[in-house]
């Protein structure tokens, strides 16, 4: 699950670090400096060949381990690689989908969603094997056995229609966030408005965090019929603006070469103006 990033504090609040320092820190003896550098380089989207190569190498890091056997540096490297948009990272990220650390698998799936490379389809589908019946919580841990939300969202973003039969059953998964992700993916894979409408209906739910997630889902799929529902939802304006921006950009995608703005685009912008 990617939290929508409606940070109320402006982003320029990271401790000062130069690009050169951050790159050097990726190879530092001090593991905490490496961990921080990996995050920093993604955050500030330092898309340089050496950075990408170092981060890909960090996906196989063995030095940085948590007590439970997790791989903190791999997690940050996987997250950063999604933001840098370099497809050379795809094979390494696909390999991470088999990592023993849940959070590495989750970060890799999220980044593969951003990179939208078809070659990840089979490995992502693998993580849905066993279907809803197998998609249960890990005892004593705050997550399910696989990062289902991220996997479903990635399959939707990639346009993996061959995964439809695996995605559809997750519409009935007991965890609402997983249901949201399944609806989002189903809409992207089929274009059927029933799935978009289902997300809109879920906005009534009495859970602020989930409403924020649904707004980000609607923004991500650019579901323009949800514009009014987004503007009227009980969520902070920052989140509504980001969701409506998603709708607006989706309108623009179709019309990039046409002069003027569609009625839908104008409608969305009028709603955005009211939220300033």
């Amino acid at each position: 699950m990617i939290e929508p990033s409606a940070e109320e504090y402006s982003a320029e609040n990271a401790p000062p670090l130069t690009v050169e320092q951050a790159i050097a820190n990726l190879r530092s003896e001090d593991l905490s400096l490496r961990y921080y550098a990996a995050w920093w380089l993604g955050k500030f989207r330092v898309n340089q060949p050496l950075v990408v190569e170092s981060l890909i190498a960090a996906l196989e890091d063995e030095a940085d381990r948590t007590e439970l056997g997790g791989y903190p540096l791999r997690r940050n490297a996987a997250r950063a690689l999604g933001k840098l948009g370099d497809k050379r990272a795809v094979p390494g990220l696909i390999k991470c989908l088999e990592c023993s650390d849940f959070y590495v698998r989750e970060s890799a799936a999220q980044s593969l969603e951003m990179l939208q490379d078809k070659s990840a389809t089979d490995s992502l589908m693998q993580l849905l094997s066993g279907g809803v019946a197998a998609a249960v919580e890990v005892p004593g841990r705050p997550h399910l056995i696989q990062p289902y939300e991220a996997v479903l969202e990635a399959l939707g973003a990639i346009g993996a229609t061959e995964a439809l039969h695996l995605v559809q059953p997750f519409l009935e998964h007991p965890v609402l966030r997983v249901q949201c992700a399944a609806n989002r993916a189903m809409y992207q894979l089929t274009g059927d408005t029933r799935y978009g409408d289902r997300l809109v209906k879920m906005l009534d739910i009495n859970d602020l965090k989930l409403r924020r997630v649904i707004l980000s889902d609607l923004g991500a799929i650019g579901y323009v019929a949800a514009a009014d529902a987004i503007a009227n939802s009980r969520v902070e304006n920052s989140f509504k603006l980001i969701a409506l921006k998603g709708l607006l950009e989706h309108q623009f995608d179709f019309e990039l070469n046409k002069p003027g703005l569609s009625d839908n685009a104008i409608k969305v912008m009028n709603l955005m103006d009211l939220l300033l």
Binding site: Y9, S10, L241, K245, F252, L261, M269, M272, L276
Partner: protein, 198 residues
């Protein structure tokens, strides 16, 4: 009135708070102003929205206290104050809107101020003062139209669009909008420029 005010201060649930604020706003009494402003700080968005419309309805008479009671320590509350001042559009808010748009750390506050800077009631100032105020608003909006946060640039365009009603400012606004349309990396921002140019 005292009773309506007390109902707000003593409300012990979000729903009771909302009902009490609704009743107080309906009274349309200037005595309600400080209490309505205080509601911005109660972390009850539904009640805050009602308080905003109550204060907007009271109009200019709530401006001095809105300016005085601005909450420097709670950006949520501050955003509601700025939105209210922007909607009332009394030019006495100019200095506050200028500094909020340019220097507040909270994007929600800055966006509300940027929008407000475009549509103050300039005619309430005399000629020379009015043109000086308009130029200050323009300078601030042009400056924040370069911000790194897309939503601030978006709000700056909304402010600039409103300022195009002033003939003296049109040329520099058009120039900046054309530049943004050509260079901004966010499609949403470019789309808003296009709408401003229609």
């Amino acid at each position: 009135m005292n009773e309506l005010i007390r109902a707000v201060t003593e409300a012990d649930s979000p729903d009771r708070m909302l009902a009490a604020v609704q009743n107080l706003a309906l009274a349309k009494d200037v005595a309600a102003i400080p209490t309505l402003i205080a509601v911005f700080g109660y972390n009850n968005p539904a009640a805050a929205v009602v308080a905003v419309s109550g204060l907007i309805e009271l109009g200019e008479s709530s401006v001095p206290q809105l300016l005085l009671q601005i909450d420097d320590y709670n950006y949520g509350a501050r955003a509601y104050s700025i939105r209210t001042l922007a909607a009332i559009a009394d030019p006495r808010a100019l200095q506050l809107l200028l500094s909020a748009a340019a220097t507040d750390f909270a994007p929600s506050v800055r966006r509300a101020a940027a929008k407000g800077l475009g549509k103050l009631h300039w005619d309430k100032l005399d000629g020379e003062e009015s043109s000086k105020a308009q130029k200050q608003a323009l300078a601030t909006l042009l400056s924040i139209s370069h911000d790194s946060d897309w939503s601030i640039r978006y709000a700056a365009i909304v402010g600039l669009q409103a300022l195009t009603k002033i003939p003296d400012l049109q040329q520099s606004i058009q120039t900046r909008l054309e530049e943004m349309f050509a260079t901004d990396k966010e499609k949403a921002v470019r789309a808003r420029v296009q709408m401003a140019q229609m």
